[in-house]
Amino acid sequence: MKGSEIVQLIDTTLCTACRGCQVACKQWNENPGLRTKNWGSYQNPPDLGWNTWTLVRFQEYVDSKGTLKWLFRKDGCMHCTDAACVKVCPSGALYHTEFGTVGLNSSLCIGCKECIAACPFDVPRYHQETDKVLKCDFCYNRLKGNELPACVKSCPTGALSIGRKDAMIEKAYRRVKQLGGDANVYGDKFVGGTHLIYVLGEKPEVYDKLPTRPAVPLTIIAWKDWLKPLSLIASGGVVVGAFLHYLTHGPKDTGGDGDQTDQGGGK
């Protein structure tokens, strides 16, 4: 699989929320388990965290026919092609790997949290103690070693799988066709295509914390794609302009008549 664009397919209709992925992720990445409280949900920790890069979300949902459903969604970095986090990262800590995924070189991270604000999926998390932002890196080190990401490796039901991008997208659409109803593929149509795509059993808007039309935020585009070059042009412009001004126009004459030769004498 080395050297090609890789996509992880999360088939939520096969997920049993065993959370093997959630634990395997922590184990491989040596993230600690923290003391939590039961807050009236199986979903724990309640949200993604600096130590929780992937989280199975639990959601009770009654559909229009009155049928109770319990929706499980493995949340985490979507590894966007058009990744807002990479766009804003000042240090290059966040980068696109050769697999198309979004890697994270923690040693470069300066804890500016720009990525946290930029991410349309609300994924990166800040760790106060180390002043670093952390998120799933698709087990880049495992991919390099031709191993499956820890979460995929742990999945007992085949809800998680990885493969070449086109094959995975094809697989997803095949599955959706088989499932019928509201089933849909989520992820291949926005932010340049994510490298983590879902087969959802319900419409995207049904799911908690899942943006229906995720995009790189306009403010981020305005900032990075418009203001950045513009400020370069402007800054360069004035520097060059001033130089040219000096050359062509010359310094302003602020000496009085004779003053410049009579500086020593004063008035």
Binding site: I110, C112, I220, A222, K228, S231, T254, G255
Partner: protein
């Protein structure tokens, strides 16, 4: 740079301290900001030992910038924050003679409209920079949408401030010789004054508030 006899006092010590606090913090902020804004300027972090330190430098320079701007606005808003109609319009029409030859540029007060624009840009966008900067610093306490707007404004602030800043730097040094002492010693030559702010000079002389180096303060008594 020792003031010579007959030079005119244009700034007091407090003003000059504020100016330099503002100037230096601004320079550091812009350089460090630039180092973080563009990967190609990441090298700017080398002297401070890495981007992380650069972030700290940026954040803490911001803390100096805040009071500096505050006092700066207090000091200059009257002289630089208010346009003088219609004279200033005339000045703008001929760009103060900076860009093409103008025989007799309109007279200006202590600060010409260019400087006023610079002041207003720094004042307004400085405040925006401070607010957005603080929100960015403590971004986790704000919604992502808010923070994103702040990043935009912060970048916009740079876009506005830097050109003004650089022009100010240029004109304050080699662009207009004789200007620089104004923020060092506080004294400039009378001829500089006559060229740069003749109206002010006149007014202050009339008011008898002119302070000239080497002379006793002239006190004009009105009868």
């Amino acid at each position: 740079m020792i003031p010579q006899k007959g030079m005119i006092k244009v700034s007091d010590a407090f003003e000059r301290i504020v100016h330099w606090c503002l100037a230096i913090s601004c320079i550091i902020l812009m350089i460090s900001g630039l180092g973080m804004m563009f990967h190609s300027f990441n090298f700017l972090a080398i002297p401070v030992g890495g981007l992380k330190n650069l972030k700290l430098v940026h954040n803490f320079s911001g803390l100096i910038f805040i009071p500096s701007l505050f006092f700066g606005i207090l000091i200059w808003w009257k002289e630089a924050g208010v346009f003088d109609f219609p004279d200033d319009i005339e000045w703008v029409k001929c760009a103060g003679g900076y860009l093409w030859h103008v025989d007799n540029p309109p007279e200006t007060g202590k600060y010409n409209p260019g400087q006023k624009a610079f002041f207003l840009a720094v004042a307004i966008f400085g405040i925006i920079m401070i607010i957005s900067g603080i929100i960015m610093w403590f971004s986790l306490s704000f919604s992502a949408g808010t923070v994103r707007v702040m990043y935009f404004l912060h970048a916009l602030g740079f876009l506005v401030i830097f050109p003004f800043f650089f022009i100010h730097l240029y004109l304050g040094t080699i662009g207009v010789p004789g200007s620089f002492p104004a923020v060092v010693t506080g004294y400039v030559s009378r001829s500089w004054c006559e060229k740069q702010c003749s109206k002010w000079l006149r007014e202050i002389e009339e008011e008898g508030k002119l302070e000239v180096f080497g002379e006793e303060k002239t006190v004009v008594e009105h009868h």
